[in-house]
């Protein structure tokens, strides 16, 4: 079955997954995580299968997306599908609550302020056909 996950990102590679509804939520400007119905473990990015208790029943729950930068880079030499966007920022941040997220950082964030600990927030982002989330200033 075609599930439409290839819309995730600037250029998606994976089209079929059990957590494809993430894309529909992002299209409605919602960032959703999965919560295991068995043990309550929260996962973001979403997971169909609980890493703790191995149950595969989950609910979609919104997350706030506030966090602090762990590290980052500015990409100049990119894979072909991304070359038109260079240079661009990529970052890893730790959300309040401890989950870590890898995402682009908005080019509007002050580049000189970039350092571990910088407070950022994850927000939905639409770009062409694609939809994803990116870090922006809080």
């Amino acid at each position: 079955m075609f599930l439409g996950f290839e819309k995730f990102g600037r250029f998606g590679y994976v089209s079929q997954t059990k957590i494809a509804p993430l894309v529909s939520y992002l299209e409605k400007n919602q960032i959703m995580a999965t919560r295991c119905k068995e043990c309550g473990t929260l996962s973001f990015p979403p997971r169909a299968d609980c890493p703790k208790c191995r149950a595969s029943y989950f609910a979609w729950v919104p997350i706030e997306g506030k966090g602090k930068l762990v590290t980052y880079t500015e990409v100049y030499f990119a894979p072909p599908a991304f070359q038109d966007s260079t240079p661009y920022l990529l970052g890893l941040a730790e959300l309040d609550g401890g989950m870590r997220v890898f995402a682009p950082i908005s080019n509007e964030v002050d580049h000189k302020a970039l350092k571990p600990g910088l407070e950022l927030v994850l927000r939905p982002k639409h770009a062409g056909e694609g939809v994803f989330y990116q870090f922006e200033s809080q």
Binding site: G9, F11, T71, Y72, E74, F102, P104
Partner: protein, 384 residues
């Protein structure tokens, strides 16, 4: 525990080898290893062909490599662990021989990268990370290591000049290695002025894609003593994994837990400490990687890796010479061949055959090989 030895090594010229196909590169290294051990092909009873097969035009290259080496119908198969493929190949050979399933195994590390277009290579590199959650944002191999570099810089004050010292050191030794892709020294200024790839990493902080092969002949102690009077013993092997996604990894990302874990296993198996290592080959896919490796292997305390460079401790004549064959930065990085190439250099050192680059009294050598963006790390400890 049975003792396992390396009794022959072979190495092709690395670089843009537009004169040779994958099977021909493998042959150069295999013939070199047989000549080195003074063995006939009939003595080899199986091959482990190591390559990151997504770069090869040939699917499942073990088949064609084994055929071209004249090893059919003996067992063969591929081992893939990205950039650590042939270090993992040594681990497989160790197991095959320890279990007595086999007597003499040829570990053939090989990669043919330069017949792919730059775009094809970049597309493949873009899928080096988690293809579901990270690649869709435009990741690249250098981007991941650049993120470790920024974390190390922020935590310890490491500078771009510090990182440049790795390239300058390794290119200096690469100039003396006829098998290396780059045989010309560079200056700190040249490194700093090279174009940005993924900040803070610049072109000269990065190793290059290359073609090449390296081969190790591995056997039991009984066989080894009949074949050679200079066996090099596999004293310790460590291998560990890490989450592939960056988001799955803990801590400030100023070190590779995966290397610390692999090193711990290898040191325990070899019953040695980091200070006992006389000569080392570490994975300098990027300049920053070598600095992190000093720390993760215990050659320096966390944050003190750059000090080893500034005090020449990892130069020839220093406390623990590192990558004095030029490293990946000079030799180029034919992914599947790199692990076996590192081990080949150590074997020459431990047999006192390294000429001008010989480390006096080298008895214990350590090779460390990272796979991909740090999903795998292999540490191999050899003894004369």
């Amino acid at each position: 525990m049975s003792r396992i030895a390396i009794v022959g090594v072979g190495h092709s010229k690395f670089g843009k080898r537009n004169d040779a196909s994958l099977r021909e590169l493998a042959f150069e290294a295999y013939r070199g290893a047989l000549d080195d051990a003074e063995l006939e092909s009939s003595a080899i009873d199986g091959s482990v062909v190591c390559s990151a097969t997504h770069y090869d035009k040939q699917r499942s290259p073990a088949g064609v490599v084994s055929e071209y080496l004249g090893l059919s119908p003996k067992p063969t198969f591929n081992v893939e662990a990205a950039c650590a493929s042939s270090a993992v190949g040594l681990r497989i050979a160790w197991s095959l021989i320890s279990s007595r399933l086999h007597d003499v195994i040829a570990v053939v590390g090989v990669q043919k990268m330069t017949e792919l277009s730059s775009g094809e290579i970049q597309e493949l590199m873009g899928r080096a990370g988690d293809v579901m959650w990270e690649s869709p944002f435009g990741t690249s191999m250098p981007a991941y290591y650049a993120m470790y570099a920024n974390a190390h810089m922020a935590k310890y004050g490491t500078t771009e000049e510090d990182m440049a010292l790795v390239t300058v050191k390794n290119r200096k030794y690469g100039a003396k290695n006829p098998q290396a892709m780059f045989q010309k020294p560079v200056t700190v200024e040249e490194v700093l002025k090279s174009r940005p790839v993924s900040k803070p990493l610049k072109l000269f902080d990065c190793c290059a894609n290359a073609d090449g092969a390296a081969c190790l002949l591995v056997t039991s102690s009984e066989k080894a003593k009949k074949i050679t009077d200079k066996p090099v013993w596999v004293a310790g092997l460590g291998l560990a994994s890490s989450p592939m996604s960056l988001a799955g990894r803990q801590g400030p990302l100023s070190s590779f837990e995966v290397t610390k874990n692999a090193a711990k296993s290898a040191y325990e198996m070899a019953r040695i400490k980091p200070n006992d290592v006389d000569v080392a080959e570490v994975h300098d896919s990027f300049s920053i990687t070598e600095i992190l490796n000093y720390e993760d292997l215990g050659f320096a305390r966390p944050g003190k890796g750059t000090k080893l460079l500034k005090t020449n401790e990892t130069e020839l004549g220093g406390r623990v010479p590192v990558n004095i064959d030029g490293g990946l930065i000079s030799k180029g990085h034919p992914v599947g061949a790199t692990g076996a190439s590192q081990i080949t250099s150590l074997v020459h050192q431990l047999r006192k055959e390294a000429g001008d680059l010989q480390v006096d009294g080298a008895k214990i050598g350590l090779a460390q090989n990272i796979g991909g963006i740090g999903m795998y790390s292999a540490v191999s400890i050899l003894r004369a």
